[in-house]
């Protein structure tokens, strides 16, 4: 996957070479803790254990139990406590252990974190990062494979961002921690072990989508775990002579509608893919934005390729539920007026 958008910062560029996304996130957290003494981490099992995904591995030993805090098992407490810490000038990074466990914290996120800056006329800032490993594909039990992003993207006052590869993970985490707004940072857990080059001097813009691959025939928008899938689909489409443009949406709130619309103006066709159910989803939002912004450039109806409108299914069924290369290309065929599964049926 290509490097992130954003220019290298001035100063010593320290290329740290190839690493997994998990290692990139760990490096980013460590670098932020080292750079700013107001940064602290709080979450379940993040200290001694290093987190169930080991994203915080070794950080308690380096920075101490007051900055890498093993919290009691209470998600509302994690986020609510972080609010109080932010009142006192800290920049807490909260870990929610799994996507399906975030719901007890939704009250604090929606009624407090998202609103305190607005409520106080800008006097109180909430520079929190809420890290959530999200998405399926790892054969997990219930509540460990959810994609809850739309709930948060629907809440004004929160930034919602996803990461897709190690470089993006490193740069976005650093930017999220530096940001004065609350950021819900969704980490695609099934991509934690994918490797890539990481240059720690590369910065990221939290609000921007990024063009992963240029193409003429259709625009394919994805994010998080499906960014990789979308690129794989584009490679597969080459066999049929189809040239796909691939955009990693990255920022789910605010949506970078300009980048998407600019692409659709070039290609005339749009497919949006994500794991979350399609009804009232990011796909709904992106397609609406495109219709509002460049309806006259559309040559075909936009397509959504999403999880079905069902509760997350048991692991044995998830390969049917999650959008893969075949479902994405089936939708691409429809936008191009080619024969798809629906005509075949």
């Amino acid at each position: 996957m290509s490097a992130t958008s954003g220019a290298p910062v001035v100063g010593t560029a320290t290329s740290t070479g190839t690493m997994t996304m998990a290692a990139a996130l760990n490096t980013a957290l460590g670098d932020s803790l080292a750079a700013d003494e107001d940064v602290l981490l709080i979450g379940e099992d993040i200290g001694t254990l290093g987190g169930v995904f080991r994203i915080t591995d070794g950080l308690k030993d380096r920075f101490g139990a007051r900055r890498v805090i093993d919290s009691p098992l209470a998600e509302s407490g994690i986020v609510g406590t972080a609010v109080g810490m932010a009142y006192a000038g800290m920049r807490p990074v909260c870990e929610i252990q799994f996507d399906g466990f975030v719901f007890p914290a939704v009250d604090q996120l929606v009624t407090q974190v998202a609103r305190l800056h607005y409520r106080t006329g800008g006097r109180v800032r909430m520079p929190l990062v809420i890290r959530i490993p999200f998405g399926g594909g790892i054969g997990a039990v219930e509540h460990h494979s959810e994609s809850p992003e739309a709930y948060f993207a629907h809440t004004p006052g929160l930034r919602v961002v996803t990461v897709a590869d190690p470089q993006d993970a490193y740069s976005t985490m650093r930017a999220a921690i530096d940001c004065d707004d609350p950021v819900v940072l969704l980490e695609p857990k099934r991509r934690y072990w994918g490797k890539g080059e990481v240059d720690t001097s590369v910065t990221a813009d939290l609000s921007s989508a990024r063009l992963l691959r240029g193409g003429r025939d259709a625009t394919l928008v994805a994010y998080g775990p499906l960014a990789v899938t979308a690129l794989e689909a584009a490679v597969a489409a080459e066999d049929d002579g189809i040239d796909l443009e691939v955009i990693d949406l990255r920022s789910l709130s605010p949506v970078d509608r300009d980048t998407v619309a600019a692409s659709v103006r070039r290609t005339g066709r749009l497919v949006v893919a994500h794991e979350a159910p399609g009804t009232v989803s990011l796909a709904s939002e992106v397609i609406t934005c495109v219709i509002e912004d460049c309806f006259e450039h559309l040559e075909a109806a936009p397509e959504r390729v999403t999880g079905y409108d069902v509760p997350y299914p048991p692991a044995a069924l998830e390969e049917h539920h999650l959008p893969g290369i075949d479902r994405i290309l089936d939708a691409v065929d429809r936008t191009l007026g080619r024969r798809s599964s629906r005509e075949a049926a």
């Binding site: 007051r66 805090i69 919290s71 009691p72 209470a74 509302s76 407490g77 986020v79 609510g80 406590t81 972080a82 609010v83 109080g84 810490m85 932010a86 009142y87 006192a88 000038g89 800290m90 807490p92 007890p104 009250d107 604090q108 009624t111 407090q112 609103r115 305190l116 800056h117 607005y118 409520r119 106080t120 006329g121 800008g122 006097r123 109180v124 800032r125 004004p156 006052g157 930034r159 940001c179 004065d180 707004d181 609000s207 605010p254 949506v255 509608r257 300009d258």
Partner: protein
């Protein structure tokens, strides 16, 4: 846990239920050796919350509280009377302003003056308060200006004052949510050292919220320098405290490892002393302490509420007799103070404050329409800039039509 701190741990559920008041007891009898569970059998016990002023104004000694009352002289008592009279006058004026249509809503604090002034005047100004919406007496103690006190209730803003200037967070509407904030604040400031403490203020209803219980877990586990101050005013809108807890609220912190005190919340000296006692210990590194102030909301939940639907006149009358201001006046009278003079002076201060509150209505600006987009994020994102422009364009397009019609 210190045994002296768990003074409320054997008290009966009787006097936190809205029943006929127990007769004034001349001390702090406890039923030693009982457990919370067995308290159900002791419903008739004569135990009462810690207090130093009887309802007739008589001063009673209390071994725990007296050391924290050594500085109390007639001037101090007069100042407390003035504070309580002022916040009652402010409260009454705000209710009147709501009736006149100047405020959308107001949550009266009448009856809770001793609890709020006792707390507010015992803390240091730099102790950080995280309160509910009924704590306008604490706002008064923190120097909140009249317009700042009213703007939220007039619908002109979502917060009235700068939390950092007043060391008081924007009052919380979500019940109990602020307890986490107090604990987090205390964890952060405690880690830096120093003597600042954080205070979570909430009511009896909040004791059923998950957040309050979680906050006690966090506070205990991290020994956070936080005071949990629960004003048990007996009602969560219409629901009596007995629905939230079948044991006195002050029994519950023990299960979290948090020492607690139960104090007569209509006795301003007792609240002041108990707060100082607790705050001193917290400052010394003792970790969190829970203080239940047993009081009574004499008015409605808000100006939209009709309490006659859920409580009777006899109960109300019994608590009017325990009015915290009346009690302090009786005490001053017993001390031989010129009570009529003091009462008149307090009333004058109250009237001045009420007049200032009334006048402040005119100072509260009507916010500009486009200000609804301000401060969503620290920097405005393009989507909001676009919506702002759309609103302004719409308003501009309508303006000539309105002018012509």
């Amino acid at each position: 846990m210190s045994t002296t701190m768990s003074a409320g741990s054997t008290r009966s559920p009787r006097d936190h239920r809205p029943t006929t008041p127990a007769p004034a007891a001349p001390g702090n009898e406890t039923a030693p050796g009982t457990t919370a569970a067995s308290d159900h059998d002791l419903a008739g016990a004569l135990d009462r919350p810690l207090h130093v002023l009887a309802e007739d104004g008589t001063r009673h000694p209390d071994a725990q509280l007296d050391p924290h009352l050594r500085d109390v002289d007639e001037d101090r008592l007069t100042a407390l009377l003035r504070d309580m009279s002022v916040i009652r006058a402010l409260d009454d004026e705000a209710v009147a302003l709501q009736r006149q249509g100047e405020l959308g809503l107001w949550p009266p604090l009448r009856g809770q003056e001793a609890a709020q002034i006792g707390l507010g005047r015992a803390l240091r100004e730099t102790d950080f308060l995280f309160t509910s919406y009924r704590e306008n007496g604490l706002a008064w103690c923190r120097g909140v200006e009249p317009a700042e006190m009213l703007s939220v209730w007039r619908g002109a803003s979502l917060s009235g004052w700068d939390p950092f200037a007043r060391h008081m967070a924007t009052p919380q509407v979500i019940i109990g949510a602020q307890t986490h904030h107090a604990v987090g604040h205390a964890m952060a400031t405690g880690a830096r050292g120093g003597e600042q403490i954080s205070v979570a203020c909430f009511g009896d209803g909040a004791m059923s919220q998950g957040d309050v219980n979680e906050a006690m877990v966090f506070a205990a586990s991290f020994r956070a320098p936080v005071l949990f101050f629960c004003q048990n005013n007996h009602y969560a809108i219409s629901e009596p405290v007995g629905l939230q807890s079948t044991v006195p609220l002050s029994h519950r912190p023990a299960g979290f490892g948090i020492p607690s005190l139960r104090v007569d919340g209509n006795d301003v000296l007792a609240v002041r002393a108990a707060t100082r006692l607790a705050a001193e210990r917290i400052r010394a590194g003792a970790g969190p302490i829970f203080l239940e102030a047993v009081t009574y909301r004499l008015g409605p939940h808000t100006t939209s509420d009709d309490p006659t639907r859920y409580r009777d006149e006899a109960e109300l009358e019994s608590w009017r007799e325990r009015d915290p201001i009346l009690r302090l006046e009786r005490h001053l009278e017993r001390l031989g103070a010129p009570i009529e003079e003091l009462r008149a002076e307090a009333a004058r201060h109250g009237q001045e404050a009420a007049d200032a509150l009334h006048a402040a209505i005119a100072e509260i600006p009507v916010p500009a329409p486009e200000s609804l987009f301000d401060h969503v994020l620290s920097t405005e994102h393009p989507g909001l800039a676009r919506q702002r422009a759309q609103l302004l364009a719409l308003e501009a397009s309508l303006a000539p039509a309105e002018a012509a019609s």
